[in-house]
């Protein structure tokens, strides 16, 4: 029972070990917002979150095994 989280655009810098992959315990009714709040990433460093190739809001309810992608603001064709 887990949610995997993948961080893009250098967001791993905010985790103590610089990791870009995080596994969280899943619980019924868990939202994307709760995932974001559980990570030490400043809110203004988050551009968008996606699940199953769809951009999803904080209120999106997750299913067991979902992968949440978290993107930093990008500039490009690309984040400097």
């Amino acid at each position: 029972m887990a949610i995997s989280v993948v961080l893009y655009g250098g967001l791993g810098r905010y985790l103590p070990d610089g990791s870009e992959h995080v596994l969280l315990d899943y619980r019924e009714g868990m939202t994307v917002g709760e995932v974001l709040d559980s990570l030490p990433i400043p809110a203004d460093e988050i551009w968008m979150t996606s699940v199953s190739r769809q951009i999803v809001p904080r209120e999106h309810i997750l299913s067991d095994g979902d992968q949440v992608l978290i993107f930093a603001p990008v500039a490009g064709g690309g984040q400097d």
């Binding site: 893009y8 655009g9 551009w47 996606s50 990008v74 690309g78 400097d80």
Partner: protein, 229 residues
């Protein structure tokens, strides 16, 4: 002996308008809306940029980005042309309040006047035409440089060590003779993995505990630092 200074751009030589990324994404998505629905475009822009950063192979960043972007959306090269049209026609209007970071040009000139080579080592996620525009915003486009990393000429991105080794290969320099100047402790100080000297600019500092800089100071301190090297 340090012979070469590598400057990061955003937050280092360039004080980027806080609304830049937001406006950039808005305008780029608007330009693409005739081909791709906005939300689909924005997701794939993020995903293909992530693909480009995380896959390091023989392809340039441009090739990686468009290979992934066009394949995933089932689109052809017209989109690539539309991207470049955006960078050529719309991108200059995104300057907003972006301006040179105080002390940046002076530090750059200090390096040049000491006979050092200068490399613009900004994360190569933007095409050359956009890099040149941003150098104008930073007030250093008229100054000599040895190399500017861009979407088209690089195969790796920050913070990967391969990005820095690629630069060293292209300019034919040893790590020990280079000084990487940047405000992002995660992306810029990663150069230290290869033995590149690092100067952490504190004006717009983005901290990280992963790397320890060799030197730390403001951009205004840097010119004096370079003169005393």
């Amino acid at each position: 002996m340090i012979t070469t200074v590598l400057f990061d751009l955003d937050g280092t030589l360039l004080d980027l308008d806080k609304l830049f990324v937001q406006r950039y994404l808005e305008q780029l998505a608007s330009r693409m809306e005739q081909y791709i629905p906005r939300s689909v475009f924005l997701y794939q822009l993020g995903a293909s940029t992530a693909y480009m950063i995380h896959h390091i192979d023989k392809r340039t960043n441009k090739q990686k980005f468009f290979d992934d972007f066009l394949t995933k959306l089932g689109l052809d090269e017209r989109i690539e042309r539309a991207f470049y049209q955006f960078y050529e026609e719309d991108f200059p209007s995104l300057k907003g309040d972006s301006c040179p970071l105080p002390g940046g040009r002076e530090a750059y000139l200090a390096a040049v006047s000491r006979g050092m080579d200068v490399v613009i080592a900004s994360n190569p996620v933007l095409p050359e035409v956009a890099m040149e525009e941003r150098l104008r915003w930073a007030g250093v486009s008229d100054l000599p440089r040895m190399y500017v990393t861009s979407l088209e000429n690089m195969k790796a991105c920050k913070p990967h060590a391969e990005y820095y080794s690629e630069i060293l290969d292209k300019i034919g320099k040893e790590a020990q003779e280079c000084l990487m100047v940047g405000n992002d402790a995660f992306e810029d100080l990663a150069a230290s993995c290869l033995g590149v000297n690092t100067y952490y600019v504190t004006d717009r500092a983005i901290p990280s505990n992963l790397y320890v800089p060799d030197y730390t100071g403001t951009m205004r301190d840097l010119a004096e630092f370079i003169r005393n090297l």
